[in-house]
Amino acid sequence: GASLLTQQHPFYISLASSMTAEAKAENLPLEIAIANQDLNKQLADVEDFITKGVSVIIISPVDSTGVKSAIAKAQKAGIKVITVDVPAKGVEVTSHVGTDNYTGGVKAGELMAKQIGDKGNVAVIDYPTVQSVVDRVEGFKKAIASHPDIKIVSIQTGITRPEALAAAQNILQANPDVVGIFGFGDDAALAAASAVKSAKLQDQVKVIGFDGMEEARNAVKNDPVMVGVIAQYPDQMGKVAVATAGKVIKGETVEAKQPIVPGVVTKAGEEK
Amino acid sequence: MAVSSNAPVLEIKDIAKTFGPVTALKRMNLSVRPGRVHTLLGENGAGKSTLMKILVGLFQPTSGSITLRGEPYAPKNPIEAKVLGLSIVFQELSLCRNLSVAENILATHEPNRFGFIKERDLNAQAARIVEDLGLPVNVRTKVGDLSIAQRQLVEIAKGLSRPADVVILDEPTSSLSDSEAEILFTIIERLKAKGTAIIYISHRMEEIMRISDDITVIRDGSFVATTEKQNTSIEGLIALMVGREMKDIYPPRLVERPSSAVSPVLAVENLSEAGKFENVSLDVRPGEVVGLFGLIGSGRSDVMKALFGFGQPAGTIRLNGNPVHLRSPADAIRHGIAFVTENRKEEGLVLQHSVERNINMVALGQLAGQFGFTRPARERAAAKTEVLRLAIKTASIETPAGSLSGGNQQKIVIAKWLQTQPKILILDEPTRGVDVGAKFEIYRIIRELAAAGTAILMVSSELPEVLGLSDRLVIMHDKRVAKTLDAQGLSPETVMTYAAGIHQ
């Protein structure tokens, strides 16, 4: 069984479909439950998997701390657990497959610095209750800190696309001298790009995103404002996770950490 | 002059109506002729209002047939009935508090063009209706700001806003005082002269004898008899209605009235509240019945509310000689005061709760056991006792209070206060909408309580009732006490002159 944090995001849709595909290829029965960002629902899903007697649970935690009890419960019932995307804290799992978000954040910061010519004010749209996003933003801040002429003037929360759009509009209104915006995800970045265009600031502001789903990649190609996106590879992640599960079932040993390093997509192309 | 040989405009044949297990109408027959007032007389719960609601299409009869002007008649809703020439003034007020008088009167047939309301015409038209009827109301006022009596007048205006062949008046005077009732009688005379047939329902025998042409008595949902007025008397009608003789409607005093030497249990001095009443002084002795009479809006209910812990009136209230400050109804109840309110639907009952729950509503604490736990057996017994004592007509004590007839609901309100065994009992229009039999019961209870030493303060708009029961009379006019008089040998005319403010 697999428990995913949400299915209202292209990243997780891609993750789910690659898992399904890989499971078919390896001839493994796979059930997917969606926690809808609710840790309690995730725990219930895991409990139901235990009742059903699955052999391995692949879990994409809603939250790294809180997923502990669910994982502990499964392990107590003798079920092996693999985490994808978000790691679990305070508990050992059989294997973790995930993007290195912090490194991704650093890459985003460096890309930003390069794109804006090493100076100016930048802003961030974040989602402070999600650990992977917090890691990205930390990485971004770390990278910017090494460029003394760049300042982060505003960090606003914009979780959904409309919220991000409003946040970006307000950032531009309050700080007309901003030259770059980093969106924690594709949605945030695309929303920021729309805001920049409707404020007629496309010559001034550069936007960088994170995730690298199709819509954002297209935008990087076609939209002058979207200068780049840090690409995650959910398809790889899903594939690796299910393959690992297959190995676990067969009793093979697996790596405890299987990091998937994000790539950088710019107008110049993709760099893994 | 309408001729009695006129063909009936409306004929009701063998109508029956059941609500689940409850039978409201068994076999009802009625034939109404144009230009005549046909009164329906029956005890509370006899089925009068149900029949009227069938006539205007709110209920569909279980069986039976109706013909209007010789044609079969089965309306599906009140608008359809109105189009066919039947209008109704409902017993229970059916107005929207949030809208103006004009908007209420012309609801569902507002003057309009393409669905857009012509506001000016609306007000003008309503004003004309009100003026034609001679009613003292401003059509722009919000209904929520009116007193019950004024709302009753608006209800009448709404019912009569369009010409109709048959006009139904279901207890239109139950909250009116004599002067407003006079206005209504004038209107009725005018309608009669135009050949309109009027179905009239009331429990006030004097007015029935005055305005009716034909009278039909119904009992337990069935037709009993129809007579012309001149062939009957109040006593005869009451006998037909309740199935037995009833001599004097005001029962005699059980003990001597308390002497003036006895000190009052409740004494009010110079009580005032801005805009509501001024310098009201009155007192009640144990065992005494003090009647509070006045025209509508004279401020009686507001004084009673002040005595029950509402508002912050200036002046003093003394209980047994000690000044008290009543902060809330809970406080007043603790001091032994009970208040039978005038608006039973809004202030009296929880309509969806059972008769039992309603009866035990105030005495809850007294009936309860230790640690605040209720004692169901004791509650049931108490409720049953009250149902028997007041002869409340209900299928069982589990029945929701809302499905009882109006008069029986009124009895529940009285019952819930009797349960508390109050030292001071305030009754605000206690017999509104109550049939003669039940009225007698209520009067008898008032006498009994007085004999047992309860001090009783009774507000009523029915002068005969006040005169028949009270030991002393406090007459209010325009938010002040006009006069306090001994009731013995007092003539209605004297009282009216004070109430109308003619005597200063």
Partner: protein
């Protein structure tokens, strides 16, 4: 002369102030506070920003006003907003043009709203529970065509709604204004509107007067559905895509706007003017706090406090009058 102009102005202003005193004062206080801290707050551009951001809520709140006036509630509008966007995206991808797509989207809104109305009126279920249920049903349905993925919309006219201007004002604002005018007139000047007040004020009395309350309720829920669908059009054109989680939680913002505007949840009392003022308050709070870069958690707290304060001011100013 000055004097007479002043008197006239005072006369014009007074009923507005009297009726909407509390909320107008709250709005003014908010604007003063924000603009005293951030000078950019009062810019014309920013006002346009606020209006655009608030458009989606305001339009949904118009529909919600009828529903609440009737003493009911519609929790499904957030989901209808999302379905509308998705229906439009699907219609475009099937090759329909702009006008047919608009019609299809509005029809979808009317059907979803109508379903709420029918379930509530004909099966006699409380609208709260009906719309909690359909909130889930519609939210589930929105994901069916794309399996949860957003669908992008590329029709130029559609996208123009969210990005272009006309006579110096963004089109989206014209729409908000036009719909306000229509709904205001319907509610305050037509028989239909009057019946909503009657039925909301005293359902039994309305039935006794012969109003077909059931039919009225169904129509009103349909209006709410259509308004939500228009909201969905505005949102999807602003985002140039249909998101499956679009409009989530917007029902509460719409209800808050309506109630802030003085419409009573008990039914029978309320106006469209109040609703648009309520929506503006919500917009001003959100925008102002963003302008001041208030951290997200404090925004939640502050918004709650402002709503409480505004409603309290409104209740108080009304009770003072009587």
């Amino acid at each position: 002369m000055t004097n007479s102009t002043e008197t006239k102005q005072a006369l014009l202003a007074s009923p507005l102030i009297r009726q909407y005193g509390g909320i107008v004062i709250s709005l003014i206080i908010l604007c003063l506070v924000f603009s005293s801290i951030s000078p950019r707050f009062l810019a014309f551009n920013n006002f346009m920003n606020i209006m655009q951001q608030v458009a989606v809520i305001a339009v949904a709140a118009y529909g919600m006003t009828y529903v609440i006036l009737l003493g009911d509630i519609d929790l499904s509008v957030g989901s209808i907003i999302a379905v509308a966007g998705m229906v439009a995206a699907q219609a475009f991808s099937m090759g329909f043009g702009f006008a047919p797509t608009v019609l299809i989207t509005l029809a979808a809104g009317a059907i979803m709203g109508g379903l709420n109305g029918v379930l509530s009126a004909k099966l006699m279920l409380p609208s709260f529970i009906v719309t909690v249920a359909t909130m889930g049903i519609y939210r589930g349905a929105v994901s069916l065509p794309t399996n949860g993925a957003p669908a992008s919309i590329e029709n130029e006219t559609w996208l123009a709604i969210g990005s272009e201007s006309w006579l110096g004002l963004p089109i989206i604002i014209w729409i908000v204004i036009a719909l306000f005018a229509i709904n205001h007139i319907v509610l305050s000047r037509t028989i239909f509107g009057r019946r909503a007040y009657l039925a909301g004020g005293n359902r039994e009395a309305a039935i006794y007067s012969g109003i077909r309350v059931d039919r009225l309720k169904i129509i009103i829920f349909m209006i709410s559905g259509v308004m939500a669908a228009i909201s969905g059009i505005l949102l999807s054109s602003r985002l140039s895509s249909a998101q499956t989680n679009a409009g989530m939680g917007y029902e509460l913002d719409a209800i808050a706007a309506v109630v802030l505007g003085g419409t009573s949840l008990a039914g029978g009392v309320g106006t469209m003017v109040g609703t648009i003022l309520g929506a503006l308050i919500i917009g001003v709070i959100n925008n102002g706090m963003n302008m001041l870069a208030v951290p997200y958690f404090y925004q939640l707290i502050f918004k709650g406090i402002v709503i409480l304060f505004a409603v309290w001011l409104d209740v108080r100013s009304k009770s003072m009058r009587t």
